[in-house]
């Protein structure tokens, strides 16, 4: 009995290994045929594929320096391993708490004040019956989205700076004391939030306007027949119609709490506000690029990415739990 089983198994094993070699051979053959037949298509794809390989996948290999005492002279291979030293250093560093606090504060202020605005603006735009007016407002509020952060922050400096800005000129003209909008730590997060709103709130309406346009007009008709007022229609037809869009976007946003506008903060940062402005990315830049502590900075970057990835996965799962279609 036992012998028989063993024989059977041996046979099966032989069988599968034969199948494997045959499989391998035909796999190679298939690829050979495909490459020859579609060689020009592969040629077209090559530069782009090479780009993704070199600029998206190869740098992952570079993450290893987070575990090495990277020395420019020794090079990547010869630098000695330090294990999790940099991670331990970072978690025990008081900077860690500060970065975490600033990131969370900036992110949650954004979710609290920025996130609802595009929804409200889209609902109001949707109620505007004059199409020319509506299109004009849309054109205007989308515009700042296309300008760089340098221009947005630059305009902000031109308007709010303490010595030469028009706002402070007006304040001192009226006999008031100039307000240090740009250098007062207490105003810093508010300035960031206001800038984000000014730049992106208009643009953010697009996705909600699309969702609003997708609501079946029959539903409004039915509500009218039932005698629902415009307000009632908004509550019972419009809002449920865009609910899933709102939930999806909110969850995705929650998945990105670790990502705060790096360029914006980098540009707004100055010595007096640095303790409320420093976030993971600015820290990585300062310690890694400016101070040359590549290994340590990479470890900080990895920490941020891993937390970010976990949050995205959790958020996606949450979205599916709500019966919504996830990100993937």
């Amino acid at each position: 009995m036992l012998q028989q089983d063993e024989d059977k198994m041996a046979l099966q094993l032989a069988d599968s290994s034969v199948a494997k070699t045959i499989g391998k051979r035909s796999w190679l053959k298939e690829w050979g045929v495909a490459l020859r037949r579609d060689k020009y298509l592969y040629l077209l794809a090559a530069p782009g594929l090479l780009y993704f390989l070199i600029f998206k996948y190869v740098p992952l290999w570079g993450l290893l320096i987070a575990f090495k005492n990277y020395s420019v002279f020794l090079g990547f291979q010869a630098s000695e391993w330090v294990g999790l030293q940099y991670f331990a250093d970072f978690f025990s560093n008081p900077d860690f708490g500060l970065l975490f606090r600033n990131t969370m504060a900036i992110s949650f202020l954004n979710i609290l004040f920025f996130f609802p605005l595009p929804i409200i603006l889209a609902l109001l735009l949707n109620e505007a019956r004059n199409m020319a007016f509506k299109r004009f407002v849309q054109t205007v509020v989308y515009l700042p989205h296309f300008l760089s952060w340098v221009i947005i922050v630059g305009i902000c400096f031109l308007i709010f700076s303490q010595g030469t800005g028009i706002v402070n000129n007006l304040i001192s003209d009226a006999g008031g004391k100039p307000i240090p909008f740009l250098t007062e730590p207490n105003y810093f997060w508010a300035m960031l939030t206001a800038q984000s709103i000014w730049k992106e709130a208009g643009w953010g309406t697009i996705i909600f306007l699309a969702a609003l346009a997708g609501i079946n007009p029959d539903l409004y008709e039915a509500a009218r027949v039932d005698g629902a007022s415009r307000w009632k229609q908004t509550i019972h037809v419009t809002l449920p119609g865009i609910r899933s869009t709102i939930i999806i976007l909110l969850i995705l946003r929650l998945g990105q709490v670790m990502d705060v506008g790096f360029e914006q903060i980098y540009l707004m940062m100055s010595a007096p506000v640095s303790h409320v402005a420093d976030v993971f990315d600015t820290y990585v830049y300062r310690l890694g690029i400016q101070n040359g502590r590549f290994g340590y900075a990479t470890a900080v970057g990895i920490f941020k990415s891993v937390v970010g990835l976990v949050l995205v996965v959790l958020a996606n799962r949450l979205a599916k739990k709500f019966g919504e279609e996830g990100l993937y």
């Binding site: 579609d38 298509l41 592969y42 040629l43 077209l44 794809a45 530069p47 782009g48 594929l49 780009y51 600029f55 998206k56 740098p59 992952l60 570079g62 993450l63 320096i65 109001l124 109620e127 019956r129 004059n130 007016f133 004009f136 407002v137 054109t139 205007v140 509020v141 515009l143 296309f146 300008l147 340098v150 221009i151 630059g154 305009i155 400096f157 031109l158 700076s161 030469t164 000129n169 697009i206 996705i207 699309a210 009218r224 007022s229 307000w231 360029e263 980098y266 100055s270 010595a271 990585v284 890694g288 690029i289 590549f294 900075a297 990479t298 970057g301 990895i302 941020k304 995205v312 279609e325």
Partner: protein
Amino acid sequence: MKTGYGYRVFQVINYFFLALCGLVTLVPFLYVILVSFTDATEYMTSPIVIIPKHWSLASYEYIFSTSTFMRSMGVSAFLAIVGTACSLIVTSALAYAISRKRLKGRKFFQVSILITMLFSAGMIPNFLLIDSLGLMNSIWSLIIPSLTSAWYVLLMKNFFSEIPDELEEAARIDGCTDIGVFIKVILPVSTSALAAFGLFYAVGYWNTYFNAILYINNDALRPMQVVLQLMLITSSTQMADPSVAAMLESEANIPPQVIKMAAVVVSSLPIVMVYPFLQKYFIKGMMVGSVKG
């Protein structure tokens, strides 16, 4: 349709509020534009400008005469033109190839491209990569690392998949290779998509900023956004870059504030000019993206 009194009141308030939103967006721009055209002496005597009494083009004449600003504009224009061309070629070629169902490995390529949207190695590994490729302080360091994007490749692939196969078949019978089909048949029928993606890329290249901070350490290769940052932001908080500080001191005694505003206007002008086209295409792009598949 009957509308109640309350709804009409709401409509009036709504129009008022929307107009206010538009105004809040426009006023900072209008202010910057107006000051940039204000006569220097008028600005110096009373810097609270609403409508200038004396208009002047001096600030524009001045910044166009400075080599610092003009050179950076040249760099940005180069990026916007050459970068966009390179990006369009690489993106459309890859998108076309993976849109063909007969391409073996198509699924694998698509997934490999898609998942790059979910992670990034981050600043330091990218920096070390550029360094080891010898691209540091080369203008190509501002083009090659942003040559294409997963998002655009996949959007464009969706677009190409909708082109009927018959078009391709006809050209193939005439003896075209895949590259011939792509250039002679596919690209000519895709001009609107190419224009749209071209604008996406051009805006991105024109706004190139942080990659230049990371990879460029040569004054001659600074794109416009870097010079703008030095003019507008750094000069008021930290020690200014010498060439930019010199630039803000004009011989004609134009106040730095007015020069700065003229620079803002010049650097946003190309975007404002292509904006009407952008708006149309960007919204279309967003719609394509929001419909999964």
